[in-house]
């Protein structure tokens, strides 16, 4: 599905001209050829070796170690004495019996889904808007979005905390100036929903640009004639979107949804900076909950069990993503 014009012929074209194990290009003849072929046979594996070493040592091994840790009791005492005590599935039983774990997990999933829905909706609207704009205005919108996208997450989180500050925040000031309400000392962080609103807004603000720009790139690949034909057939804006844009951009939508879901499930630094789970743990999400279990109260075994569950949840979202990727770009893999 070549929906985005990325100007990349990509591997499928390269594959067509390559033979197994041989370098691209004409093979030499005679003994030299046999020698080349064998060297060529191993060469790709040598090239991959360093990356495999890094990925196995620094991703696969920690992942394995995470799983084994989840079957150990590893509190402060064992940590200091460097004891290894196997406890079977006790950590999992403990975590699954913990009411807060279920609340936090459910909250994490709902939070991610709301953020994804908001991001996709706003991103689509912005992309459609960009299509209708002249060059100058389109550049203006792109520059604004690039600023938001480029801002480091920790900077962004700090700024949002400042925008919504109780005493001197510009948002409270704007509300007080523009509406009859007096929000001169309105706190956004002493109850759950306003705090979640600020957190979600910060996440979505940074997530929209990627979605909008990708969708816009997709939109520009749809020929104008299709829309003209649709207009002649009497299709309104909504009908055009639903009957033309949506099916044509379906693969992009699917990939953006699954990618956003994976990203929003693991929100950590914004949460750490903006609310740190407060007030009274009401905005705690799974990653911070796990972090607190480990580095806060030194119950590393239980924290590892929670982290394993987190990995499983992410993998379910990932499986959906990979399946889409394979279906969309089968020839490339």
């Amino acid at each position: 599905m070549d929906v985005l014009d990325t100007g990349q012929p990509d591997v499928d074209s390269a594959l067509a001209t390559t033979t197994v194990g041989a370098p691209l290009g004409g093979a030499p003849t005679g003994p030299a050829r046999r020698h080349r072929r064998r060297a060529g046979h191993l060469l790709p594996y040598w090239l991959l070796l360093p990356s495999v070493v890094v990925l196995v040592g620094l991703l696969a091994y920690p992942l394995f170690s995470l799983v084994t840790t989840s079957f150990r009791r590893l509190d402060l005492r064992q940590l200091i004495r460097r004891q290894t005590i196997w406890v079977g599935t006790a950590n999992y039983r403990a975590i699954l019996r913990d009411h807060e774990f279920w609340v936090v997990t459910l909250r994490t999933i709902v939070f991610a889904m709301v953020c994804v829905a908001a991001t996709l909706l706003a991103g689509t609207l912005v992309a459609l808007l960009m299509r209708r704009l002249g060059r100058g205005m389109r550049l203006l919108v792109s520059v604004g979005m690039l600023l938001a996208w480029a801002t480091p997450t920790v900077s962004a989180a700090t700024v949002f905390k400042w925008l919504f500050d109780e005493q001197y925040g510009v948002v409270n000031w704007l509300v007080t100036e523009l509406t009859p309400l007096d929000w001169s000392a309105h706190s956004w962080f002493d109850s759950k929903w306003p705090a979640f609103f600020v957190l979600g807004l910060c996440v979505v603000w940074q997530a929209i640009p990627f979605v909008a720009l990708t969708l816009y790139a997709g939109l520009t690949s749809i020929p104008e004639e299709i829309y003209e034909a649709a207009t002649i057939d009497g299709a309104g804006a909504w009908r055009q979107f639903w009957a033309v844009t949506r099916p044509l951009l379906r693969p992009i939508f699917l990939i953006l949804i699954s990618l956003s879901l994976i990203w929003d499930l693991k929100v950590f630094s914004q949460l750490y900076v903006i609310t740190r789970g407060g007030p009274s743990r009401s905005t705690l999400l799974l990653n911070l909950y796990t972090y607190n279990l480990g580095f806060g109260v030194s119950r590393f075994g239980v924290a590892a069990a929670a982290a394993v569950i987190m990995v499983v949840i992410t993998f379910i979202a990932t499986a959906f993503y990979i399946r889409t990727m394979i279906r969309v770009g089968e020839e490339a893999l």
């Binding site: 599905m1 205005m137 938001a148 920790v154 003209e228």
Partner: protein, 281 residues
């Protein structure tokens, strides 16, 4: 032709679209503007509810304060060392892998590609626990090169994926021609393909740099408080007298500037690279 049939409606639509565009721009740009303008405002204009959207006086006090916070220069140095090392090492390793993936077809290639996709999704926040425990047992906490190694774990998959796309766009014919003319495969690659790949390498490298520069949770857990990187300094920035917003915004601005600058430079290439990764598989 729509324009001819309904000129008025079209015009009103364009005006509405332009207004919407300005609002969208403000929504995205205002927080960034507010960060920078607060950083340059005198404290008296920050600690007041009589807010002025445009500062009437400018000061560099907050930047000076930020530079003077304990260990700031250590944090900056650490951030630079870690980000640059991660970038160089990741791009080198990824270049090898990308060449293999784009230039050869071999058994296990598809599996490797799927693995690269999968490992990108492993939440680092979950791996931080075993990483901490393993490094603690090996007495390797608070060591910068080790932090670099852990950063490669999450920078590398994306770097490989993106570079593979770049290598695949380069014509093989030129390399073959050089080989016919007697150049070795390595020589052909080095003299023909490598220069052509430079823009791709730069774009990928910048992206790796940004990711490493922004990383938060690994530095937070694997480094000691006096030996941190900038994002952790920023994320845990507090003063004795409550929140110093001027200093915080100055810190955020300092931290954001290199990323925003880099980002704007390579943006075009990066969006197409990301889009290629996202759409073309």
């Amino acid at each position: 032709m729509t324009a001819m049939r309904r000129p008025k409606r079209r015009k009103r639509g364009a005006v509405a679209a332009n207004i919407a565009a300005v609002l969208v721009f403000l929504f995205f740009a205002f927080p960034v503007y507010w960060m920078a303008s607060t950083a340059f405002k005198p404290a008296a204009q920050i600690r007041t509810f009589n807010i002025k959207l445009f500062p009437t006086a400018l000061t560099l006090d907050h930047f000076r304060d930020a530079f003077r916070t304990a260990n700031f220069w250590t944090f900056l140095r650490n951030s630079l060392i870690v980000s640059l090392s991660t970038t160089v090492l990741s791009v080198l390793v990824a270049l090898l892998a990308a060449t293999a993936l784009a230039r050869f077809r071999f058994r296990g290639r598809r599996t490797y590609l799927i693995m690269i996709l999968v490992v990108q999704m492993v939440p680092l926040e979950a791996l931080v626990i075993p990483m901490y425990l393993v490094l603690r047992d090996a007495d390797l906490l608070n060591v910068l090169p080790v932090l670099v190694a852990t950063y490669m774990a999450f920078v590398l998959p994306f770097t490989i994926w993106t570079l593979r796309g770049f290598v695949a766009t380069l014509p093989v014919d030129l390399e073959e021609a050089a080989m016919v003319d007697g150049a070795s495969r390595l020589g052909a690659f080095w003299r023909i393909t490598f220069p052509l790949m430079a823009p791709g390498l730069v774009a990928t490298g910048v992206f790796a740099f940004i990711q490493a520069w922004n990383e938060f949770i690994l530095a937070l857990t694997l480094m000691e408080q006096q030996n941190q990187t900038l994002p952790v300094w920023l994320g845990t920035f507090k003063t004795a007298t409550g929140v110093d917003w001027g200093g915080l915004m100055a810190g955020s601005t300092i931290f954001a500037i290199p990323v925003v600058a880099f980002f704007l430079v390579v943006q075009g290439r990066m969006t197409s690279g990301l889009a290629a990764g996202a759409v073309k598989g």
